[in-house]
């Protein structure tokens, strides 16, 4: 490895280093605030090194990783999301007694895993990144040990995730058996001549899709999502919903573009089926929920369905649409769970829909942020979510996916129902009953949390009103992907 390789890897290296520093700090000098600051600094520096790394990109670093503009873009997204989660976690864990420092180390490990996924160009790094991410998540989900439910959620995630990893490994093995290589690019080169995929390869690919589908929580691999979303501490839920899924989408997109997966009609139809089922199951089940975290869980299943519609629209517009939609989804989901997180404390999550009754009149700013986040999820203009949905529909129309687009529209309307329901409840009259033992002091939104929510709302409107800069960035990034 040359110096330039290390420069290209800087974002990952800095993240890894920060996690070690955090671990050592936890061992020698326990201080919650200090650890949170170090973590934030680490993530910020890692983000800044993206600019340095961009100077030497695109560049394969060992056969395992490729640091191109695509990887850097997604790494940036992941780092910013992790930073937001870190700050929200600080506010959340402050309300908790006990040892909280390891939490941040795990968060950094998970971030590292996610970034590895975004840069993976080889099945080994794919699996490595995935496991780094997953194993950290098992613990993060179950971190609040005073409560039974996080533990249950953690175990549920552990078992199902383990099973899906097994599928993934089997799939990789089959592909290796067929092509004799685990490098994405070389598999693609070997397949370049064939019109259809060899059957062994296809079976392998389907198995990989099973594993990936689990991480993305798309139907029919979605069973874990509501329980884990509900059980996990709110900031961790935000992390699972964004970083973990986003990294997987990044990998899937890169791999599918590289091997031109949709030349196989069977795969296309399978994916179309998954998209349709996810949209309908997600939205219809969300209608029935009276628990905000479960509602958002089902809604995120539906959103991954929308995302897959863009994915299915072949052509350059697809990569752009997926990336833009994902960015909007990141902002919105972080914002929504951020609100939940701000209102929650360990062991007492603000998850019942009644916790939000007349929030508009008791805490107008928090309710305002939640409202715009929900409107963005619903795809109403002036928000990033609208431009994202516009992009997806544009990609679909461009590829003449009329049926899928109409299904998407039908689902958008169903989705409106439950987003509006939450908004209505927030705007409803009647004071929220203050539960015994609950003091206003404990519910004070800290400056840091407020800043995160404000920044996310700002991004939401910025992307909704003037998306041109981000679109340009994505276009540059996307050219790199097609080029490799």
């Amino acid at each position: 490895m040359t110096l330039e390789d290390f420069i290209a890897l800087l974002p990952l290296l800095v993240t890894a280093l920060s996690s070690l520093v955090v671990l050592l700090l936890a061992a020698f000098h326990r201080d919650h605030a200090l650890v949170a600051v170090v973590t934030s600094l680490g993530l910020t520096v890692a983000f800044l090194t993206l600019l340095v790394a961009a100077g030497v990109a695109p560049r394969p670093v060992t056969p395992l990783l490729i640091m191109d503009s695509y990887a850097l873009f997604y790494a940036g997204l992941i780092l910013v999301a992790s930073l937001a989660v870190t700050i929200l976690s600080y506010g959340y864990l402050e309300k908790q007694e006990g040892q909280r420092e390891e939490f941040y180390a795990l968060l950094l490990f998970a971030t590292l895993g996610a970034m590895t996924l975004a840069a993976a160009s080889h099945f080994a790094s794919f699996f490595l990144g995935l496991e780094l991410l997953s194993v950290s998540l098992y613990v993060l989900i179950a971190y609040i040990r005073t409560d039974g439910r996080p533990l249950e959620a953690g175990i549920k995630y552990l078992i199902l995730s383990g099973t899906s990893s097994a599928f993934l490994l089997f799939g990789m093995a089959l592909i290796y058996f067929q092509s004799g290589t685990m490098e994405f690019a070389r598999t693609a080169a070997l397949l370049a001549g064939s019109v259809e995929f060899p059957s062994t390869f296809l079976v392998g690919l389907v198995m990989i899709m099973t594993g990936v589908g689990f991480k993305l929580a798309v139907v029919p691999f979605h069973m874990w999502a509501p329980d884990v979303y509900q059980g996990a501490p709110a900031p961790v839920t935000a992390f699972v919903a964004t970083v973990s899924k986003g990294a997987m989408v990044a990998l899937l997109l890169r791999y599918f573009v590289e091997i031109a997966a949709f030349r196989s009609e069977m795969l296309w139809w399978a994916m179309a089926g998954i998209a349709t089922l996810s949209m309908f199951a997600g939205n219809l089940l969300a209608l029935l929920q009276s628990n905000i975290k479960r509602l958002l869980a089902y809604s995120s299943i539906a959103h991954l369905g929308y995302l897959l519609v863009a994915f299915l629209a072949a052509g350059p517009l697809a990569v752009e649409a997926v990336t833009f939609y994902l960015t909007a989804y990141f902002i919105t989901t972080l914002g929504a769970f951020g609100v939940v997180s701000v209102l929650s404390k360990p062991g007492d999550e603000a998850e019942a829909i009644d916790d939000y009754r007349s929030l508009f009149w008791t805490r107008p700013w928090v309710a305002g942020v939640f409202t715009v986040m929900l409107l963005s999820l619903a795809g109403i203009p002036l928000t990033a979510g609208f431009v994202g949905k516009f992009y997806v529909i544009a990609a679909g129309v461009d590829s003449s996916l009329w049926v899928l687009i109409v299904l998407l529209v039908v689902n958008s309307v169903i989705g409106l129902f439950y987003y509006l329901r939450v908004i209505v409840i927030m705007a409803a009259d009647g004071r929220r009953d203050v539960r015994p033992g609950e003091t206003t002091q404990a519910l004070q939104v800290s400056y840091a949390d407020g800043l995160v929510l404000a920044a996310l709302s700002g991004c939401l409107f910025w992307l909704g009103l003037y998306p041109a800069p981000l679109i340009r960035l994505i276009q540059t990034m996307q050219k790199g992907l097609i080029g490799t």
């Binding site: 009149w361 409107l375 109403i380 203009p381 002036l382 609208f386 516009f390 529909i393 544009a394 129309v397 461009d398 687009i405 109409v406 529209v409 958008s412 309307v413 409106l416 129902f417 509006l420 329901r421 209505v424 705007a427 003037y466 998306p467 041109a468 679109i471 340009r472 276009q475």
Partner: protein, 500 residues
């Protein structure tokens, strides 16, 4: 720039009104009124300055025009422009906006800041809709109207407000999304032919395409506009939304939001797909006629005063639909006249009903009767607007309906015949309104103050406009005439080309 100011002023004033709420609820009211007053002056200046241009043939040249790049990736521009038709509707918007603010003056006592924020943002959205000449921008404004309106109904509305608000939102949103797909379809077809991706209205005009495709795309636009209009059978949201909304909301809904649907049909649905619209015209006209009769019938059957006015809107807007799809000069001028006149009349009726409800605490006509003795001013003014609404000569509504019928007669005699029955039906339900509420013996002993000066001034202004529209409609017809001729002429050229 003046076009941007019209909109931005309202947006900013809305935010300021919300923020200043904590310093007393008088602030938001005055800020809203002030902002709208400035807007009115700006719009009148626009009219005075450009009046000379209205009459001369200025095909393709706007009275005011502004364009800036916005999202270059999709060729989306921030393009606002104004012609005669837009000008009239902008004036109507600001005028009704002022009356809505005044009507809400005492009715809204809680969360006034947020109320006026929503009110001003709806109005800004409506202005945007009438001014946007980029399809994407049009869609954005189209949606901007929606969310604040939803809040107006769901927070300050009456008993079943949440149900009504959600129903309103879902109906309109479903229509909007179909329109969005149609817009994208049109853009991509245009791009395939010319290699230019654009959402600009004028560039998209004249895109030639397969007849079947054109019909589908036209239907996408029609879905959104028919829901807003509302055309039977897409009207189901309207009675609920109108009944439950606070007075200011009802005024804006009936006076303005319904007009955006009609405007969309005139500006977009027909000119963009002339041949398809022509093929579809009999169906649309039939829907219009059904709406006229069905709305009138149901209006007569109501016991709730607000619902009566709401259903009468379905009936009146049926004339607009009929006029638009007759697509000749007279019928179109009639449709525009009907849009303006209906905005004023129905707005006024909703203000009166709202004021009545504020005093009596009910909208149930069975509990009223004999109110004229207690509330003579109410009675007289309501009578004026009820008569205007039924289309008595001398009112703008008469001009509108008469011109529509005259125009549609040339296209389809049978439908015109049935539509004319609507005029008779209007007499029945309008007079029934007066009879059941103000005449006869009092069912309960109400005591309530009569209309205050504030209301009298507002309503007198509305009467004045109404009478002006009825007695001297020429300036209005002139203002709209050139625009309509341009749109129509364009449609005809295309129809010929695509047939050839």
């Amino acid at each position: 720039m003046i076009l941007v100011w019209l909109i931005v002023l309202l947006l900013v004033a809305g935010l300021v009104a919300w923020l200043l709420d904590r310093h007393g609820s008088q602030w938001p009211r005055w800020i809203a009124l002030g902002a709208l007053a400035i807007d009115l002056i700006l719009a009148l200046i626009l009219w005075a300055e450009r009046e000379a241009h209205l009459s001369i043939s200025n095909q393709g040249v706007w009275l005011a025009d502004l364009s800036a790049p916005w999202i270059p990736r999709f060729g989306i521009t921030f393009h606002l422009a104004l012609d005669g038709l837009s000008l009239l509707l902008v004036l109507l918007t600001i005028f009704l906006g002022i009356t809505a603010v005044v009507a809400s003056w005492t009715e809204i006592r809680e969360r006034t800041g947020f109320f006026y924020f929503n009110l001003l943002w709806v109005l800004a959205g409506v202005l945007g809709v009438f001014l946007a000449m980029d399809l994407f921008l049009f869609f954005v404004f189209w949606e901007v109207m929606l969310v604040p309106m939803y809040f107006l109904i769901s927070v300050w509305g009456h008993e079943h407000r949440v149900y009504a608000a959600v129903k309103f939102f879902l109906f309109t949103q479903a229509g909007s999304l179909l329109m969005l797909i149609a817009m994208l379809g049109l853009t991509f077809i245009h791009a395939q032919q010319t290699g230019v991706v654009t959402f600009d209205y004028q560039q998209l005009l004249g895109t030639t395409m397969d007849q079947t495709v054109a019909l589908w795309l036209m239907l996408g636009f029609f879905a959104a506009f028919a829901v807003k209009l509302p055309a039977v059978p897409f009207h189901a949201w309207l009675p609920d939304a109108h009944t439950e909304a606070p007075t200011g909301g009802s005024v804006i809904l009936a006076g303005l939001l319904l007009k955006t649907g009609a405007y969309g049909l005139i500006r977009f649905a027909v000119p963009l797909f002339p041949a398809a619209a022509q093929a579809f015209a009999p169906v649309a006209m039939a829907l219009g006629v059904v709406g006229i009769l069905y709305g009138a019938l149901l209006a007569f059957a109501q016991t709730d005063l607000k619902r009566l006015v709401a259903y009468s809107s379905v009936s009146h807007l049926g004339f607009v639909l009929l006029g638009i799809f007759s697509w000749n000069a007279i019928a179109l001028e009639g449709a525009v006249m009907q849009m303006l006149a209906h905005g004023i009349t129905t707005g006024a009726l909703f203000i009166l009903v709202g004021a009545l409800q504020e005093r009596l605490g009910t909208r149930d006509m069975r509990r009223m009767g004999g109110l004229w003795a207690i509330l003579p001013r109410f009675g007289a003014i309501t009578l004026v607007f009820a008569i205007a609404s039924l289309g008595l000569p001398g009112s703008g509504n008469f001009i509108g309906e008469f011109l529509v019928l005259l125009g549609s007669y040339r296209v389809n005699v049978l439908m015109t015949l049935f539509a004319a029955l609507g005029l008779v039906a209007a007499v029945i339900y309008s007079l029934a309104l007066i009879q059941r509420t103000f005449h006869g013996s009092a069912n309960e002993s109400w005591t309530a103050p009569d209309l205050s000066t504030r209301y009298l001034v507002t309503l007198s202004a509305m009467i004045a406009v109404q009478v002006w529209l009825g007695l001297y409609p020429q300036p209005v017809l002139d203002a709209a005439g050139q625009t309509l001729q341009n749109l129509r002429g364009f449609g005809e050229v295309i129809a010929v080309v695509s047939k050839g």
